[in-house]
Subunit: 355 residues, 2 copies
C-alpha cells in the first residue's frame, strides 16, 4: 500500500512510520513492539549515560531483530546566568511550598552531551538509525556515525533548518510542526516568527531539500498519515499516540490526562526545561505562562525535577509534565503493536476512499 | 474528481474551494473571478456600511451569476479602557514620530456591527452564502438570514467552538488552524492553550460535529487540498494564495512581501487591531511582540490606521499589515482564475498519484 518506499528502504522497515523517541517515556518494550509491528522503534536517550545507552539498546535488541532508532539531544551547553536562576527560584518557591517539595534545587545540566563517549556507545549498540534533536553534533561525530553505516536523521522546524541539516549530510529530515508534543527541535535563530504548523511546513520543506521529509506534529491516526503523504512527506513520526500504551513509562497521571484531553488544551511552555515544549495545560504551566526568561535549557529541568516527581507520584496533574501533541484527542487505549496496526489499517482505508 | 460533494452541493459550486473573504483585500473582481472559475467567491465586508455591502455585492453580481459569499465580523462591542488606550498611545508614539505620521488617533470602533441594518442589506444583496468570524450574531438574525435561504458558515478554532456553532444552526463549520493568515476567529475562552494546527484540528472537528467541516490555514496548493480531504474535510478555504493576484487590493508592498516570504517568517500579532492576526514579521510587529495588553479589538485599528496607511503608501513594509498564512512560501504570481485552476489541477494530480 505504500507508493513511496523511500523511508521504508532507507530505514529497513515495513511501514513509513516512526514511533517517536520520547525521552522519559520510551522503553525497550515500546521500541521493540513498534519495530516488530513494522514501524521504526525508537528510544529517547537524551538523559542516558553511555552505559545506559548500551544497556537499553541491548534490551531492545533482545526483543526484536528489526531496525531501531536511538535519539539524542544536541543542544548547546547551557551557561548559568545567576540572575535568571535567581528569578526562576523566586517563581518556583511558592510551588515548592504548595507541593511540599522541599527547597528549589540548583540549576544544573542533567543531560549528557553527545560526545565521543556517547558516540562510542552508539557504535557499540549499532542501531540502524540515530536521530538528533536541536541540530546535529560536530561534523566529525556525524561522519563517524555515518561511516558505521548508521542512518542519520534530525528535526527541522523551518525550511532554513532543513537545508542546514541536508547540507550536513542527514539522510532524511523530520519536519516538526507546531502541533508536535514535547520539545520543539528549533535550533536556528527565528526572531519573532512562529513555528509553522505541519500542513504549511511539510510541502515547503519537500520543495526545498533533496532528502526525504518525514512529517511530525498533529498526526495521530490514518487520516493524518494519509494527509502527510499528500503533502509530499515520505513518512511520519508519531509520538503522543504511543504515550498511553502499556509499554510507555509515562506517569499514570500523564496517561490519564492524555486520554481525557481534547487537543484544544495544550500549550507551549518553557517552564519545565527552559525550552518550549508542548504539554497539556496544567496549573503550573498556566501559572508560569507569562514568565519568558528562564535559565538556559536544560538547567530548568533540574530546578523543576522534584516538583514534577512529587506531582507524578501523588497522581496530581498540577505540576507534572504532560507532554502532548495537538492531536491528542484522537488517543485511544491500546498496545504499541495495536497502535501501529491501527495506523496502517486506517491509512489504507483512507487512501482507498479516494482511489 | 470530487468524491465528497457535500460542500459543492451546499454552496452551489463546482469545486469545494472557498476563496477566503479578506476584508481590505477582496474585490468584486476577485470574488467574481473565483466564482466563475468554479470556487466560492467571497467579499470581506467587515468594514462596510450597509450601503457599501449592497454596492459591492451588486458589482460582483454584475460580473458573475454564480454563488458568492459575504463575510462579517461579529465580535463583541469593544469597551474603551482608558488605561490601555493610554499605554497603547505611549507605545505607538515613537512609531508615529519615526514614520512622520502625525498624532496617534483616538481608539474608536471602525467596524460595523452585524445589526438589523446590515442584515437588511444582506437580504437585499441576496448572496448564496454568508459567513461569520468570531462566532455568530444574535439567534434572531441568524434565523432571519437562514429563512431567506442563505447558507450560513462560521469559523471555529477548537472543537468546543465547532460544537457551539453547529448547535446554533450553521450549515458548515470552517476549521481555522493556527497556520491561517489574518485574524484568528477564536471566540470562546481558552485559557493558556494554543490554537491547534490544521492537521490536528480538522480530524477532531470532523469527529465532533454533524455538519461538514471546511479546512482553513496553511493550505496553498493542491497538496494541501488533498491533505485536507484525507483529514475528513469536505472542502477548503484559501486566502493567502489569492492576496497576490491582480484582483487583490492588498497594498503593492504587501504583495511584494508575500511573494518574498518563506512561510517561516510569519507571526501572530495583536499590535495592529487588538486581536491576534497572522502577518509576515515586520519591524512594527516585532517591536510590539512583548506588548500583550492592547485595547479591545478593533479599537487598535483606528490607533494604527495612519501608521499602516503611510507605510503602505510609501512602499515600506515596516509598519503595514502583511496578513499572511504560514504556507505563503507557495505563493506565485497569477490571476484569481489561474489560481483556482491551478489548485484544482494540482489536487487532481496529487490524488491520482495515490490512486
Amino acid at each position: 500500500m505504500w507508493h513511496d518506499r523511500r523511508i521504508c528502504d532507507l530505514l529497513g522497515i515495513e511501514h513509513p512510520i516512526i514511533q517517536a523517541p520520547m525521552a522519559g517515556a520510551t522503553t525497550p518494550e515500546m521500541a521493540a513492539a513498534a519495530a516488530n509491528a513494522g514501524a521504526l522503534g525508537s528510544l529517547g536517550c537524551a538523559m542516558f549515560a553511555p552505559e545506559r545507552i548500551k544497556h537499553e539498546a541491548q534490551q531492545t535488541k533482545a526483543l526484536t531483530n528489526r531496525s531501531i532508532n536511538l535519539n539524542f539531544f544536541v543542544h548547546a551547553s547551557p551557561e548559568l546566568d545567576e540572575a535568571k536562576a535567581s528569578a526562576a527560584r523566586t517563581n518556583l518557591a511558592p510551588w515548592y511550598e504548595t507541593m511540599n517539595a522541599g527547597n528549589v534545587p540548583d540549576a544544573v545540566e542533567g543531560h549528557f552531551p553527545f560526545d565521543d563517549a556517547a558516540c562510542e556507545a552508539v557504535l557499540e549498540a549499532s542501531p540502524k538509525v540515530v536521530s538528533f534533536h536541536f541540530g546535529l553534533p560536530d561534523n566529525a561525530i556525524v561522519e563517524r556515525v555515518k561511516r558505521a553505516g548508521i542512518v542519520v536523521l534530525s528535526s527541522a522546524t523551518s525550511v532554513a533548518e532543513a537545508r542546514w541539516l541536508a547540507e550536513r549530510g542527514v539522510d532524511a529530515v523530520i519536519a516538526q510542526g507546531y502541533e508536535a508534543g514535547g520539545h520543539s527541535g528549533w535550533f536556528l535563530p527565528r526572531g519573532a516568527s512562529n513555528v509553522a504548523g505541519t500542513m504549511a511546513l511539510v510541502p515547503r520543506m519537500v520543495d526545498a531539500v533533496p532528502v526525504p521529509v518525514i512529517a511530525a506534529g498533529g498526526i495521530a491516526d490514518g487520516r493524518g498519515i494519509a494527509a502527510a503523504l499528500m503533502l509530499g512527506a515520505a513518512g511520519v513520526q508519531i509520538g503522543t499516540a504511543f504515550l498511553t500504551t502499556p509499554e510507555s513509562m509515562a506517569a499514570p497521571v500523564h496517561k490519564t490526562e492524555l486520554l481525557n484531553a481534547s487537543g484544544d488544551d495544550t500549550m507551549l511552555s518553557k517552564a519545565f526545561s527552559g525550552r518550549n515544549a508542548r504539554t497539556v495545560v496544567n496549573d503550573y504551566a498556566s501559572d508560569m505562562d507569562d514568565v519568558k526568561d528562564w535559565p538556559d535549557f536544560p538547567l530548568v529541568n533540574a530546578m523543576t525535577g522534584p516538583l514534577r516527581k512529587i506531582s507524578a507520584e501523588t497522581g496530581r496533574p498540577d505540576a507534572v509534565v504532560l507532554w502532548s501533541g495537538q492531536a491528542v484527542g484522537l488517543n485511544r487505549e491500546a498496545t504499541t503493536a495495536e497502535t501501529v496496526e491501527r495506523l496502517v489499517a486506517e491509512t489504507g482505508a483512507c487512501l482507498k476512499r479516494f482511489a
